[in-house]
């Protein structure tokens, strides 16, 4: 009697303390989640705010006279002749016509830097597409130089004293004149998504890196998916239980923890030096990355196969299916959502990987868009790295924009993984 009362008292006494501990634990959990979210938001806000200017492009409208004589072209020029023609001349004429007061050699040189180096190629491509333009006078929105772009976007402060400013007073005056006459406007930067790398920030695009990543992942998927699924099926369904198989299992798990740069060294030694596959090609990159993603997919596939209830196998076997039929007709379809989720997560990992690709020559300046897995290419994260390392200030915004594109693909891939899991998941 006395004893029971004492116990109740004890419980009541400690109750307050226990509740307090629970509340404390809950609030600590909330705080940690809030911290994580705040950091994520800061990161995203920082990248987005830096990247936004990269999606618009300053254009300079000039009226150029496409005179055959000035361009040194014959009456019916073929493509080779047009390729060799100097279209800078007519653009320079247009700028000089706008600012006739510029006469000294030095000032002229400065004036010509208002348009991008790409302007002449822009004009050339227009003429190659439509020969009837020759002999006409047309108004073209030319790509502006990165300095002009920076002034218009406000990343160069016009109010700073001249000595502290990258764009000097003279050039700033020209820009303001053009602005006042409505010849400068900004447009969505399609160029960023439709062209390869460039050393001029205003001309640099991400398409080469996106396609490079695509081809690399294609090779990775083609190699790692069948091998990993086959390995997982064998280990789960067919392998005898002995020490050798245990040893293999442990090693697959260990392989998942090997730093990725090691795979790069392996790729350099085996695939490039021994098999003499081309350097910088998505083919080698894909093979190296598939080595890296194999353990991830094997481990995910094995747990997906393990999660299929044994009753399903027993029913199939009981109805006279062979072991092989049981696996391929019943177990694998049921495990597929889990396997696909694992694969996509492995692919997303491979998409963000740079270290192994450093070793096999994918850190390279490549302008041409890759057309196949054997063409030289670079990938998205390496493009971020290369732009972050460039001296021109205009690349700062391009770097952030490339990070956004990379994040977009990562989020999209993870979303697909979640969708597949939700759609095909079965409750047992």
């Amino acid at each position: 009697m006395n004893n029971t009362l004492n116990n109740t008292d004890l419980v009541k006494k400690s109750l307050r303390k226990r509740y307090f501990k629970e509340r404390l634990f809950r609030s600590l959990g909330l705080v940690s989640i809030a911290t994580a979210i705040i950091f994520l938001l800061i990161l995203l806000a920082d990248i987005t705010s830096k990247a936004l200017p990269a999606f618009s492009q300053t254009q300079l409208e000039l009226t150029v006279e496409l005179d055959r004589d000035r361009l040194g072209l014959s009456a019916q020029p073929d493509e080779a002749e047009l390729m060799a023609a100097d279209f800078r001349l007519v653009i320079r004429d247009a700028l000089l016509a706008q600012f006739p007061e510029v006469t000294s050699r030095r000032d002229k040189r400065e004036l010509y830097t208002l348009t991008s180096m790409g302007a002449e190629f822009q004009l050339r491509d227009m003429v190659i597409d439509d020969l009837s333009l020759l002999g006409q006078t047309i108004t073209v929105p030319f790509m502006a130089d990165d300095d002009v772009d920076a002034v218009i976007k406000g990343s160069i402060d016009r109010t700073l004293p001249e000595s502290d400013r990258r764009v000097k007073d003279q050039k700033l005056a020209w820009i303001e004149t053009l602005e006042a006459s409505g010849q400068i406007d900004t447009a969505f930067n399609w160029h960023f998504f439709s062209s390869g790398d460039s050393r001029e920030p205003e001309m640099a695009g991400i398409k080469g890196a996106i396609l490079g990543s695509f081809y690399t992942l294609l090779v990775t998927l083609a190699l790692s998916f069948p091998i990993a699924v086959a390995a997982a099926i064998y280990l789960e369904e067919f392998a005898p239980k002995n020490r050798f198989i245990d040893f293999i299992e442990i090693n697959i798990n260990n392989l998942a923890a090997v730093p990725s740069i090691v795979f790069g060294l392996l790729g350099l030694a085996v695939f490039i030096n021994f098999f003499t596959l081309p350097r910088s090609a998505p083919l080698v990159g894909g093979i190296v990355l598939s080595l890296m993603t194999l353990p991830t997919i094997i481990i995910a596939s094995r747990s997906a196969i393990k999660a299929v209830p044994p009753s399903l196998r027993e029913a199939a076997l009981g109805l006279g299916a062979s072991k092989m039929q049981t696996v391929f007709h019943h177990v694998l379809p049921a495990a597929l959502p889990g396997i696909l989720t694992g694969t996509i997560i492995g692919m997303a990992q491979a998409l963000g990987e740079t270290a192994p690709l450093l070793m096999i020559g994918m850190v390279a300046f490549i302008v041409d868009i890759p057309q196949s897995v054997a063409d030289p290419a670079t990938v998205l994260p390496i493009q971020v790295f290369l732009w972050a390392d460039s001296p021109e200030r205009g690349f700062l915004e391009k770097t952030s924009a490339a990070i956004m594109v990379l994040l977009f693909f990562l989020v999209a891939m993870n979303a697909i993984a979640i969708y597949l899991r939700k759609k095909f998941e079965k409750k047992w």
Partner: protein, 345 residues
């Protein structure tokens, strides 16, 4: 099941159909990260203005580039390697041993290494001797032949005319070519000002190198990684610190940082070109002669690189911060390149 088969089949087929026989129709360039910004500009213009493919340019570092370049004559080896120093005799021997006999040297211009700080901060008028005393691991005392671990913590202790600011220098790590060049040109240049150290160069070369080339490791010199943009960002946050990087980064960020005077010369285009600014180095690239006939566009690429509009005194490479060669030297380099004259050390 069907989905699974389809995924495998499609991915496999697409990948397999794309693998083509080797053989290269583009120029492959490797080498120094300092020459990379110039090489890429030429490559891009070359690709855009001719019908040839744009050359592929890898940034592997000077030493790494030489190794790849000298591996052999096959098309799987690079055609051109960039270098931020001259090729070493040992490297040329390695080339010859592997059958790479014809190597053409092209001197493209100069690059200055600057010591800079935040634009509104103190003006530094340094000498190479100041840099050596501030950054060496061990410094000589007043007595000849005696060395003590670097005791200096403030710039005005090194030289009374310098501002009373803590010594804090952000610079590249030992793997960088910029660091090699800085040590050789600035540190060794200052080190040689001590007659007894200069004398050890002949008597004990390894000791001379240890004294002149060792940078202090007590925190006054901060290794800031290979990324020069990062150094510039850090300088803005810390106005008392100095940073070491290539001239092109100073040129592009002249509104954020300013270069210190070294031995009375400001790091400017003209002073580096004339050799008045002491911390500058030559930039080269090396061409494999055997590939000139084999790879399409090689001859045209060399012509574009050495043309007046690229490498000349007002060429587009100067807009990217390259310090051009003077008239006569330029003409010699141009003819040597176009005639593919073999390099003799």
């Amino acid at each position: 099941m069907k989905t699974l088969k389809k995924i495998t089949l499609v991915a496999g087929l697409v990948a397999a159909s794309q693998i083509q026989a080797a053989g290269r129709d583009y120029i492959s360039v490797v080498g120094s990260s300092t020459v990379y910004p110039f090489s890429t500009v030429v490559a891009e213009r070359f690709g855009k203005s001719t019908s040839f493919k744009t050359p592929k340019i890898e940034s592997t570092g000077t030493g790494g580039g030489m190794k790849l370049f000298c591996k052999g004559n096959g098309v799987d080896t690079p055609d051109i390697t960039n270098a931020s120093r001259r090729i070493k005799e040992s490297e040329l021997t390695m080339c010859h041993d592997n059958g790479v006999d014809g190597v053409v040297e092209v001197l493209i211009g100069y690059d200055g290494i600057v010591v800079a700080n935040e634009i509104s901060s103190h003006d530094f008028k340094l000498s190479r001797k100041d840099l050596f005393l501030a950054l060496a691991k061990e410094v000589p005392t007043e007595k000849d032949g005696e060395l003590v671990p670097n005791p200096y913590t403030m710039w005005n202790e090194v030289n009374a005319e310098l501002p009373a600011v803590k010594i804090e220098v952000l610079g590249p790590p030992p793997t960088s070519g910029t660091r090699d060049a800085f040590v050789e040109l600035a540190m060794e240049g200052g080190c040689k000002k001590f007659p007894w150290i200069k004398a050890t160069k002949d008597s004990d070369k390894s000791q001379y190198k240890t004294i002149c080339h060792s940078i202090r490791e007590d925190g006054a010199y901060v290794e800031a990684g290979e990324n020069d943009n990062l150094i510039i960002q850090k300088l803005q946050k810390n106005p008392d610190a100095l940073g070491i990087f290539g001239f092109s980064f100073l040129d592009q960020n002249a509104d954020l940082v300013k270069g210190s005077l070294v031995d009375g010369a400001a790091p400017e285009f003209e002073t580096i070109a004339s050799g008045e600014y002491p911390v500058s180095r030559p930039l080269y690239f090396y061409v494999k002669k055997a590939h000139v006939a084999e790879i399409p566009g090689m001859k045209e690429f060399l012509a574009e690189f050495t043309s007046e509009k690229a490498m000349g005194e007002e060429g587009y490479l100067t807009d990217k911060g390259l310090i051009p060669l003077g008239g006569e030297l330029y003409n010699k380099v141009k003819t040597d390149t176009m005639e593919l004259n073999n390099l003799e050390l």
